[in-house]
């Protein structure tokens, strides 16, 4: 299985982590506020990517590619924003975002699992439909009317220097995402559901012969996973930005896929990758704010995307990162 690490890889990981912590410590002692700002920005940018990656991961573990995450983010953000603005409740908005995500997930499942549409095309339909629908119903005059989600300090934990601000003084959906990482990890690797899910992604035929209803489980998983992307949309509109704008997902649904691949389709791996990508974004914002280096903002802006290309190319070269065997293939009961 992809999630087991070889001892050498584990050592490499620990070595890398140590080096990173030392670098952070050096920077923190040199310029505290700026380091804190960059790291807080890292966690902020990582949340959305982690949610998208988990959505993609559950689908792919079941054998269904989801390139419609971008569209799921966008339409859910729109639903969350509109409902929150109409009801004056961030909570209702969040529920609406999750609900819209579930509906989009169901639609993807209906196309890719039910109607056996090519999975990539089905995802593309979601993306184009989301862009069209949100633009059509976009009402420029509507505003949220209430403040976005604000930071909640987790008691004394929030007082720890650096770590406290970065991890324990966050808004609610960020905490929820961190909790969901643990939940999804346990569900995927420690539960019967998880075992069945991985079975239908690796060998649907074998899973079928032991009595697992492949199509039904794929339907269920892709729909549920949509809820995670829906939460991502709500996070985007109600916690990260506090409004809705056209095409506001800005490609992060696709970045989430790269994060998922980089994180070997495991929640914790994906979060590590999401933090890395989040770091490049936060760094870019920091560069733009105070012009420390004479690099055109467009080149800094390219960074996450160039990194993604390199990562995807490397993950193809490094044989240890293996796709679920039945990924992308629609299952026909024999």
């Amino acid at each position: 299985m992809g999630e087991v690490m070889k001892p050498q890889q584990r050592q490499l990981l620990y070595a890398g982590l140590t080096v990173m912590l030392v670098i952070i410590w050096i920077f923190y002692s040199a310029n505290g506020p700026q380091t804190t700002a960059v790291l807080a920005g890292t966690v902020r940018a990582a949340t959305l990517l982690a949610l998208g990656a988990m959505c993609g991961m559950i689908g792919e573990r079941s054998g269904v590619v989801n390139i419609g995450i971008e569209g799921q983010f966008l339409l859910s953000a729109f639903a969350a924003f509109t409902i929150a603005s109409m009801t004056g409740s961030l909570f209702m908005g969040t529920v609406a975002g999750i609900g819209m995500g579930l509906m989009m997930g169901w639609l993807l499942a209906a196309m890719a699992v039910g109607l056996k549409v090519d999975q990539i095309i089905a995802g593309t339909v979601l993306n184009i439909a989301a862009l069209g629908l949100t633009s059509f119903f976009y009402d420029r005059s509507r505003s949220l009317g209430i403040g976005k989600y604000t930071n909640i300090d987790l008691g004394p934990l929030a007082d720890i220097p650096l770590v406290g601000t970065v991890f324990f003084s966050r808004p609610p959906l960020t905490y929820l995402t961190m909790a969901l990482l643990v939940v999804v990890h346990i569900a995927l690797f420690r539960s019967v559901w998880g075992m069945r899910t991985r079975a239908i992604g690796e060998h649907p035929g074998a899973a079928d012969t032991v009595g697992i209803d492949v199509l039904r489980l794929r339907y269920l998983n892709v729909t549920l996973a949509g809820g995670l992307a829906g939460l991502g949309g709500a996070y985007l509109a109600l916690e990260a930005v506090g409004t809705f704008s056209r095409a506001m997902s800005g490609g992060r649904g696709f970045l989430a896929l790269a994060v998922m691949i980089f994180g070997r389709r495991t929640p914790f791996g994906a979060y590590a990758a999401a933090l890395f990508f989040g770091f490049t974004t936060a760094l870019q914002n920091q560069f733009q704010l105070n012009n420390t280096f004479d690099i055109p903002p467009q080149f800094v802006g390219m960074l996450p995307f160039v990194v993604t290309i390199v990562v995807v190319a490397l993950s193809g070269l490094v044989g240890s990162m293996r796709d679920p065997a039945a990924l992308g293939q629609n299952y026909e009961k024999g």
Binding site: F305, V306, R322
Partner: protein, 356 residues
């Protein structure tokens, strides 16, 4: 023969009708009249010579973009990079168009088009080559290259190639020289004729040459193609290069024939519509022409529809998504028409992200 043509055309045609019907429901939901809206759409796209010119102008990059997707499709690859390839083609064609002067048109115009085409071929070929050598999935790579292209063309038009005339603050290049401007013959832009010629060439190459046979073989079954001695890696790399070149030509025609310059943000989204066009045409290069004309007509008429019926022009995007949905899931239409299943109709691409 005629029966098989009917079968091929039936599904896209019904998809368009269903898309327009659901669009009518959306128009009603906005308290507007569907008949007024659709009449305005039609008049705005076909009503007079100006309208026809607009439709043909809108259809031109759509033909190129549709071909860029369809050509890659034939080799079993999904090119979502049309947007980036188009931007790259648009900016480099404009660069040569305004950067050189004193050349006669017969040299300058082809040179500008060529610059765009070559840049686009490199941009698309990069994704194909990465796929062939490392197994990096072209969908992810081309999407990322779209963002990189967006940033790169932004920078080019805001810094080294910026239009410094007057007090311009917009990120755009200066106007291209007259000798690099694509002319218009009456109501027919020459760029449109180029697009039609490109479609015909694609069809000829795919259906009548050894190279085209190899491309289609790779698309049908990569492993079988490899065993029969076809250089699969080369086919994937070169197919994506051709695809990139086609999308880039669409951008070049925009810069040299429609906008007269490259301006950041003007062509955004145009590259993605190629996907709808290619699927609507069932990846047939000749089918791309009517598909692009149809969508081009809707886009040309959209502003009149907004003016006359008060319907947001973004309705066109929704209708396109609906058409795409019905074409991608032909089972719904087949059930409506009581048609038999024909396996050759199902478009299939999906596979994992790594490996080839």
């Amino acid at each position: 023969m005629s029966r098989s043509i009917l079968r091929t055309v039936a599904i896209p045609l019904v998809a368009v009708v269903l898309g327009l019907l659901i669009g009518a429901v959306l128009i009603l939901s906005q308290n507007a009249s569907p008949s007024t809206a659709y009449t305005a759409l039609l008049v705005g796209g076909l009503g007079d010579a100006d309208a026809v010119l607009r439709t043909l102008q809108k259809a031109t990059p759509l033909i190129f973009g549709g071909l860029a997707v369809a050509f890659a499709f034939k080799a079993g690859m999904f090119n979502i990079g049309g947007q980036g390839q188009l931007l790259i083609g648009a900016v480099f064609a404009a660069g040569v168009g305004f950067g050189i002067d004193g050349l006669p048109m017969v040299i300058h115009l082809p040179l500008a088009l060529l610059a765009g085409a070559i840049a686009g071929a490199i941009w698309g070929g990069l994704a194909g080559t990465l796929k062939a050598t490392t197994g990096a999935h072209e969908v992810i790579v081309t999407i990322m290259l779209n963002f990189v292209a967006g940033n790169l063309t932004d920078w080019l038009s805001a810094n080294p190639w910026k239009d410094n005339s007057g007090n311009n603050i917009v990120a755009r290049t200066p106007l291209v020289e007259d000798s690099a401007t694509i002319p218009t013959l009456g109501a027919v832009p020459v760029g449109f004729l180029l697009a039609v010629a490109a479609a015909a060439t694609c069809w000829l190459v795919l259906e009548r040459t050894t190279y085209g046979f190899e491309v289609r073989s790779v698309g049908h079954n990569r492993n079988a193609a490899r065993y029969s001695g076809i250089k699969v890696g080369w086919i994937m790399g070169s197919t994506m290069a051709v695809a990139g070149m086609l999308a880039a030509l669409g951008g070049a025609v925009e810069s040299l024939g429609v906008d007269g310059r490259f301006e950041a943000g003007v062509n955004v989204g145009l590259g993605f519509e190629g996907i709808t066009i290619a699927l609507l045409a069932r990846a047939n290069p000749l089918g791309v022409i009517p598909a692009a004309l149809l969508v081009g007509l809707m886009e040309a008429g959209a502003s009149r529809m907004q003016f006359k019926a008060g319907v947001a022009p973004e309705l066109i995007d929704v209708i396109q998504a609906l058409i795409l949905f019905f074409v991608a899931a032909p089972i719904i239409i087949r059930w409506l028409l009581r048609m038999r299943q024909d396996t050759s109709e199902q478009l299939q691409l999906g596979a994992g992200w790594g490996k080839s």
